[in-house]
């Protein structure tokens, strides 16, 4: 099939429809608005529902209802709206409902701005709302990867009955790149016997619930969730390795940052520095496994993010502080430039011995 040019935001919408998602609830916010625009047109074409909610708070709770009723459902927003959704997301995680939430991150804190950022990393990978829970967080770095990951996002949500967050930034949402959509497949959404669709007489009662008033039962519930998260952490780590063989220095970056760092890594290699890149595709679960080997061979690490240093904490945990982990970041909606990353690499490579 021929390639077409597609905006990242539209790719999320098309990817969702192709993954069998038929319900979207959301509230407008820049820089993700092309996604609701796209789905407002696309959902009716496939017999789906697009509904503009009165707030992000309501949107997340509509997702709760629709997921509880057994639908493949998603919502989307950016920083301030995602903050409003945290209540609903916590309930969704507590009630173990599958759904997909898109965060097209913008500059913060507060109203911040609408420029691209990665400053919601903590919020995403630590759960975000109240209580002890995790989201599976996928961080694409190209429009093609967005298309590919949307199917995985919905499948992972169903497999684990857990909310999945697609974490991107304004650049990925706004940019157009060539994509291969592939053949549209017939999607069989897995059975959801737990969904509350109306109790059959004599059948089991279904309850979509996150309330466990008895502490012993709430502990049991949390332990069960914990076991699930442990399995996800073990089974679902994804990452891309780039020129990692023999690397003495390893750059770690996700999303748009990783694209920029790849160019810096190429330039560093051209200058004779053995530098590689790890790009986490799942930022939760964090791809600890890839660091296990690398921390033995690399002298140091450089984490590059569009924030003040958030993923760096996970990198430090992953290398168990066995090697120095450095940080370079741009914030407030600014993007790192490959040349500046290269300068950081030059400064840090071989303990700064290289020119």
């Amino acid at each position: 099939m021929a390639k077409i040019l597609m905006k990242g935001n539209e790719a999320i919408g098309e990817g969702a429809v192709r993954a069998g998602c038929r319900y979207f609830f959301g509230y407008p916010i820049t820089p993700q608005s092309e996604l609701p625009h796209y789905l407002a047109k696309r959902m009716p074409e496939v017999g789906g529902t697009y509904l503009q909610s009165e707030s992000e708070t309501a949107a997340a709770n509509m997702v709760f209802g629709a997921a509880g009723a057994g639908a493949r459902v998603m919502t989307s927003s950016s920083g301030p709206g995602i903050s409003l959704m945290q209540e609903g997301i916590s309930y969704i995680a507590g009630a173990e409902l599958p759904c997909v939430i898109v965060n097209m991150i913008r500059g913060g804190p507060g109203l911040g701005n609408i420029a691209p950022a990665q400053s919601d990393y903590f919020q995403a990978v630590k759960g975000g709302g109240h209580g002890d829970y995790r989201l599976i967080c996928l961080a694409p770095a190209s429009v093609q990867e967005i298309i590919d990951l949307m199917q995985d996002a919905f499948d992972l949500a169903d497999k684990y009955r857990n909310p999945v967050m697609l974490l991107a930034d304004g650049v990925l949402g706004q940019m157009m790149e060539p994509v291969e959509l592939g053949e549209e497949k017939e999607i069989t959404v897995p059975d959801r016997p737990w969904a509350a669709t109306g109790r059959k007489k004599g059948g089991p009662k279904r309850l979509i619930n996150s309330l466990y008033i008895v502490p012993e039962e709430c502990e049991k519930h949390n332990l069960k969730l914990g076991e699930k998260y442990a399995i996800i952490a073990r089974e679902e780590q994804r990452w891309e390795e780039y020129r990692l063989d023999d690397a003495k220095m390893v750059v770690v970056a996700f999303g748009t940052c990783a694209r920029i760092c790849k160019a810096a890594v190429d330039s560093a290699r051209a200058e004779g520095m053995a530098v590689g890149l790890i790009r986490p595709i799942t930022v939760w679960p964090f791809p600890n496994d890839v660091f296990a080997g690398v921390k033995e061979t690399a002298n140091n690490f450089l984490v590059v993010e569009m924030n003040m240093g958030q993923m760096i904490e996970d990198v430090r945990l992953a290398v168990s502080d066995a090697r120095p982990v450095h940080f370079y970041g741009r914030v407030g909606g600014m993007l790192p430039v490959a040349r500046d990353v290269l300068n950081e690499i030059r400064k840090l490579y071989d303990g700064g011995a290289a020119k």
């Binding site: 077409i4 040019l5 650049v171 940019m175 790149e177 748009t256 694209r259 160019a263 490959a338």
Partner: protein, 181 residues
């Protein structure tokens, strides 16, 4: 081959669609391409710009912060983005609407009376493709044939009757550039 092309002007000048046309044409030649618009409140103010990257290598950042080519469709765009152009780069100035000269001496500047030429062709709206024709001739970033192919993708079918005049506009731009050489 690497070109980071920044196209800037005001709304209605076809700035965003010119960028998309270029990106489509690059894609047809199996090059790596990316297109990104400016977004948010500034676009409500009536100005519009987009960055197009065309390269034979994978594209790191789609944001064109250091353009190799600037296409300035109006005066504010020229004043704002002129300093960002890389030394040795190219600035195409829509001299129909911009009555100042560039200050840069380390870049090549070509003045194109795009709106006037478009009016001569009978359709002021094709000014963008006149300037695109100049770009194609001077940089060879993509071929004219690819752009004409791409027009079929960018224009909705009911607008395909506009393809001939756009072809004429591209041709006009190319002729002008040949004389510039």
């Amino acid at each position: 081959m690497f070109q980071g092309i920044l196209i800037a002007g005001f709304g209605g000048q076809g700035v965003l669609s010119m960028g998309q046309l270029l990106a489509y044409a690059g894609m047809k030649e199996n090059k790596h391409v990316a297109w990104i618009p400016s977004y948010g409140p500034e676009m409500r103010g009536g100005t519009a710009n987009c960055g197009v990257t065309i390269s034979d290598q994978p594209i790191s950042s789609p944001v064109v912060s250091e353009p190799t080519v600037l296409i300035a469709m109006n005066r504010p765009s020229l004043e704002k983005f002129e300093p960002a152009v890389v030394p040795g780069g190219l600035i195409l100035v829509n001299s129909s609407l911009i009555n100042i000269k560039t200050k840069r001496t380390d870049v090549r500047t070509v003045y194109v009376p795009a709106n006037d030429l478009a009016e001569e062709l009978g359709n002021g709206k094709v000014a963008n493709n006149i300037i695109l024709g100049v770009l194609l001739e001077l940089t060879g970033v993509v071929s004219t044939d690819s752009v004409l192919e791409a027009l079929k993708d960018v224009l909705p079918p009911k607008r395909h009757n506009l393809i001939p005049i756009n072809r004429d506009a591209l041709e006009k731009g190319r002729e002008l550039a040949i004389n510039e050489r």
